[in-house]
């Protein structure tokens, strides 16, 4: 098998874990090679050349070589200095990482995924206010990139454009259908989310700026992602505390 050599590739660390004695096993999201697994030899030694570099959310330029199986990390350097994710934004970042680790397969290059990851991190860096919207758009774009894009701009039964003032039943396996007896809630059932046309429009156009649209978009992406995630829940959901007793500033927790 031929050795693949990649030089100075834009990348992020999605996950790292100890490997052998003093190395790290890294799962990287790279621009041109998708998700790749590489070993950073000696990275856990105090005087390692990688010290402090191979951390999640840090934009990197990495070189590696690979002869089938695990790659071996060569040079790594900071690509640019991003603002550090803190507090709730950090938890959101870990949620996105878990989502990517669960849904993106190794060695299946996809530029769109690298781009959506870069842009969700940029939004999370801005801090709390925007986190929820950032996550929903990231989920929308991830589903799209994985080939499970959601129908958001037309009624899948009559083909008409979504009307903001109407209520729709969104069927997991086809898309939005105008609810019968508009405004009247049918009995909730599995595989269907009921939401307003205005929320569908907001998600489609990427301007989720009111509470209701955020809440409805969350129910929709959650149902759609659920199909791909199966019954194994995302662990990072546990990072978002339900604030019992405390005054809730939000209608819902920001996370998944």
């Amino acid at each position: 098998m031929q050795t693949l050599r990649v030089d100075r590739q834009p990348a992020y660390v999605l996950h790292r874990r100890p490997y052998r004695n003093n190395s790290l096993l890294l799962e990287l999201l790279t621009r041109d090679h998708g998700r790749v697994a590489v070993v950073a030899r000696g990275a856990r030694q105090p005087r390692s050349r990688y010290h402090g570099l191979l951390v999640q959310f840090q934009p990197l330029l990495v070189s590696w070589s690979c002869k089938g199986g695990l790659g071996a990390l060569g040079q790594a350097e900071i690509h640019w200095t991003a603002r550090r994710l803190q507090g709730e934004s950090l938890a959101c970042g870990l949620y996105v990482n878990e989502l990517l680790m669960r849904l993106v397969h190794r060695d299946d290059p996809c530029l769109a995924i690298f781009q959506l990851y870069t842009s969700v991190l940029a939004r999370l860096e801005n801090g709390q206010a925007d986190n929820e919207a950032a996550l929903r758009l990231c989920e929308r774009d991830l589903l799209q990139a994985l080939g499970y894009g959601m129908a958001l701009d037309h009624d899948v039964e009559n083909g008409e454009a979504i009307r903001p003032e109407c209520v729709y039943n969104y069927f997991l396996d086809k898309g939005p259908v105008l609810a019968s007896g508009n405004g009247v809630t049918d009995t909730p059932r599995a595989g269907v989310v009921q939401l307003k046309g205005s929320s569908l429009n907001a998600l489609a156009q990427g301007r989720l700026d009111d509470r209701e649209a955020l809440k409805e978009a969350k129910r929709l992406t959650r149902m759609t992602l659920g199909k791909l995630l199966g019954n194994k829940p995302l662990n990072s959901r546990s990072l978002f505390r339900e604030r019992q007793g405390a005054v809730r500033k939000r209608a819902s927790t920001p996370g998944p």
């Binding site: 999605l14 996950h15 402090g52 951390v55 999640q56 900071i78 550090r84 995302l234 604030r243």
Partner: protein
């Protein structure tokens, strides 16, 4: 491994490799040393290890390693129960004890939150910590988890818990070592120090 090596020696060499920093070479050296020159020392290791594994458990208050139900620090009346320092490992407790004049109590997580590794709040004893907060008596938590992404996420989670109970959370400072010179820092540490700067 040599062809003529006995299965028992091979088993011993493999067993030593569970120790951190011990690879095949040093495991082999240790095994041969004990068998050739220090069987008595080997017996002492066996006994001490068996006894420690049998008797050392966790402190019921702070979760650190302890052979008593409540460890020596937690049961020391001279310590200030209003201050609680949160650490990732028992080794961190030793480090703080040996190098600072901290006189409060500890809580040891035995790890950090790491969703991708399946480590959730209960796995690091945060349910126990929440009960401790709720019981009252703690006024300040000093969160001293590691300056890693997971350590920071853990710190944030605990800080939120503390605020819910009107306890003041603080985070220890990281970055440029005192007495160090910027020129000799690696780029990662320096960049973190600049990003994590605090107001003066």
């Amino acid at each position: 491994m040599k062809v003529n090596e006995s299965p028992l020696i091979r088993q011993l060499v493999e067993a030593f490799q569970c120790l951190p920093g011990v690879g095949p070479k040093s495991a082999q050296r240790m095994s041969y040393h004990l068998l050739e020159r220090d069987r008595e020392g080997g017996r002492r290791i066996v006994e001490a290890l068996a006894e420690a594994i049998e008797k050392v458990g966790r402190c019921g208050r702070c979760r650190t390693l302890s052979e008593a139900e409540v460890c020596a620090i937690c049961s020391d009346p001279g310590r200030d129960p209003a201050q609680l320092c949160i650490l990732e490992t028992p080794a961190d407790v030793l480090a703080v004890e040996q190098t600072t004049s901290y006189k409060g109590l500890y809580f040891v997580l035995m790890g950090h939150l790491s969703p991708l590794d399946g480590i959730t709040p209960e796995d690091i004893g945060l349910d126990l910590l929440a009960r401790r907060f709720a019981a009252g008596g703690v006024r300040e938590v000093i969160i001293a988890t590691n300056p890693t992404v997971e350590g920071e996420a853990t710190a944030h989670y605990i800080a939120e818990m503390a605020r819910e109970h009107a306890i003041k959370p603080s985070r220890i400072a990281f970055g440029v070592p005192f007495g160090g010179e910027l020129e000799y820092l690696d780029s990662g540490t320096l960049s973190h120090a600049i990003l994590g700067r605090r107001e003066l």
